[in-house]
């Protein structure tokens, strides 16, 4: 395989996308995985909606929805039917085309992310050798959809929400990517499947600080609660989707949960060892880890109140970015200087470094105005 021969390289890419003992051809693999991914995303989103509403209910010492079906399992279905028969409203002075296109632009890239998420060894739509780069590139497109929604609605709340999300997404993208690079350095590959294969020890142990940075930045990227300024209901009604109803609103709702699913899957793949695990089949391990990460995300949601805009920005630029840079620097040194070091020494070293850095940053940096003891 020569890098000077692009056609051959592309061909090899296709070959690598095939699992080694697959009976059909490329197109069979392609069609099958498109169906699997669509079904997986839809079913998991419904599961996530149910899981989050029930889980949040228990966090708040109440029951959550339990009237439709056993344990309220059909609640997402009931919601979907309700939302489908609602009237579709377009603001009279809104930009009709932009308003119409926005949910699609937001939804499609999120769905495309799952093309490179490995469910098992080699069980993925396309084993791109630049898998994680592809994820980073696609994940920023849905922000365009959200901004289109804010612009097309001709509504001040929508526009402010959309502006906030653009600023937030651009700021948090940087620590997010820097945290990913730390993982890539250790794994020595950008392919998601190779990264999983490299994790004989889950990278959360080798990269504890990287995991924290990635988790917080990802929460901000997908606008989960401590950072959900774009739809802050106490300030902005509902942010960018104030003017949306019916199926278009449902698409934005789907985007929200598909993004959470994507982030859970990526954290699972990058930091928790993906499909690897003893006894149980790999696909089940993947699902368990995805649900565990999602549980962590809405556990944070149930605990921490929303932060202010100035604090949000200061947190990204003054805290996460320098920490991510330092983390990348330290990881690079470790990879270059002690490539064969015992994993446990590295693990304890990294944990100690994380503790020291967090204490230093807590002592010396003010993150925006106001006094919050955290």
């Amino acid at each position: 395989m020569s890098i000077f021969n692009p056609s051959l390289n592309l061909f090899n890419c296709y070959l690598e996308a095939l699992p080694p003992d697959w009976p059909g051809g490329f197109w069979l693999h392609w069609g099958l995985f498109v169906v699997i991914i669509l079904a997986f995303v839809m079913v998991m989103i419904m599961g996530f909606i149910w899981f989050e509403r029930r889980g949040l209910g228990r966090f708040q010492v109440r029951l959550g929805p339990n009237r439709t079906g056993p344990f309220g399992l059909l609640q997402p279905v009931a919601d979907a039917i309700k939302i489908l028969i609602k009237e579709d409203i377009i603001p009279a002075k809104g930009d009709k085309w932009v308003h119409w296109l926005a949910p699609v632009v937001a939804f499609v890239p999120v769905l495309m992310i799952f093309a490179v998420v490995p469910f098992q060894d080699g069980a993925l739509l396309a084993d791109l050798n630049i898998g994680i780069l592809y994820v980073v590139a696609l994940s920023s497109i849905s922000v365009v959809g959200i901004f289109m929604a804010g612009w097309g609605s001709n509504n001040k709340f929508s526009l402010i929400g959309a502006m906030r999300t653009v600023a937030q997404a651009v700021s948090y993208e940087i620590p997010l990517v820097l945290a990913i690079i730390g993982v890539v350095l250790i794994a020595g590959s950008l392919s998601m499947n190779e990264i999983v294969k490299a994790q004989s020890i889950p990278f959360i142990l080798l990269q504890p600080l990287g995991f924290l940075i990635f988790f917080m930045a990802a929460c901000a990227e997908i606008n989960r609660t401590p950072f959900d300024l774009l739809e802050a209901e106490s300030e902005l009604v509902a942010g960018y989707h104030t003017e949306y109803s019916g199926m278009k609103f449902a698409l934005f709702y789907l985007v929200e949960y598909a993004e959470v699913l994507a982030v859970s899957a990526i954290i699972t793949t990058l930091f928790l060892g993906g499909w690897r695990g003893p006894v149980l089949p790999p696909f089940l391990w993947f699902l368990i880890k995805v649900f565990a990460v999602f549980f962590l995300i809405f556990w944070v949601r149930s605990t921490i109140p929303r932060i202010r805009v100035d604090q949000l920005m200061a947190f990204a630029w003054k805290c996460l970015l320098p920490l991510a840079l330092l983390n990348l620097f330290i990881t690079a040194i470790e990879v270059v200087v002690w490539p064969e070091a015992l994993p446990w020494t590295i693990i304890f070293l990294n944990l100690a470094i994380m503790a020291v850095l967090i204490v230093l940053w807590s002592k010396f940096f003010r993150l925006g105005g106001g006094r919050v003891e955290v």
Binding site: V61, L63, W299, T303, I307, F315, I358, S362, R371, V374
Partner: protein
């Protein structure tokens, strides 16, 4: 904002919310589960004891709303008043309980039941037979200490787990 406590505050908060996962949910699923109300609840389903009532109409006089109507006639055979009409328009009732407190023969009780929603206003007017005690219409212990002692303790505002022990 500053991480004055090195993020330990966040960790403490997370631990607290995690503990809440294992608490009993506060929700009462109403039609299936019901809380026990106060033993002295002043539910306005008034309960009337036909045997004890002498038709003195003290309750009607004490009612600030004038919601109780009594018409009596003299029964010469039994040598007492015969209650011909006992009618309470509970739509006017303000739950004050003065009728029950003023009854000299303990013949009138506040209701223990509280589900009083009706489809028609006419159904709010209770007449003689509709006022008698039954399994659905128990008397409450308001101003009636003997009935109060027999009723179960309320769970409405108390810690339900403690009451059940």
């Amino acid at each position: 904002m500053r991480f004055e406590r090195y993020g330990i505050g966040i960790a403490k908060g997370m631990a607290l919310t995690f503990k809440h996962l294992f608490r009993r949910p506060i929700t009462t699923q109403y039609p299936e589960e019901r809380l026990v109300t106060s033993r002295r609840i002043r539910g306005n389903e008034l309960v009337w004891d036909r045997e004890k009532c002498t038709g003195c109409a003290t309750c009607a006089k004490s009612c600030p709303q004038g919601a109780i109507q009594i018409v009596t006639s003299v029964s010469t055979e039994e040598n007492k008043y015969e209650v011909e009409k006992f009618e309470v328009d509970t739509g006017y009732c303000i739950f004050c309980g003065l009728c029950v407190e003023s009854c000299p023969y303990e013949a009138l009780f506040m209701g223990y039941a509280y589900e009083r929603a009706r489809y028609r206003r006419g159904e709010l007017i209770l007449v003689k037979e509709g006022l008698l005690a039954s399994d659905e219409r128990k008397p409450s212990g308001y101003a009636r200490p003997k009935i109060e002692a027999a009723l179960p303790q309320q769970t409405l505002l108390l810690d339900r787990d403690k009451v059940r022990k």
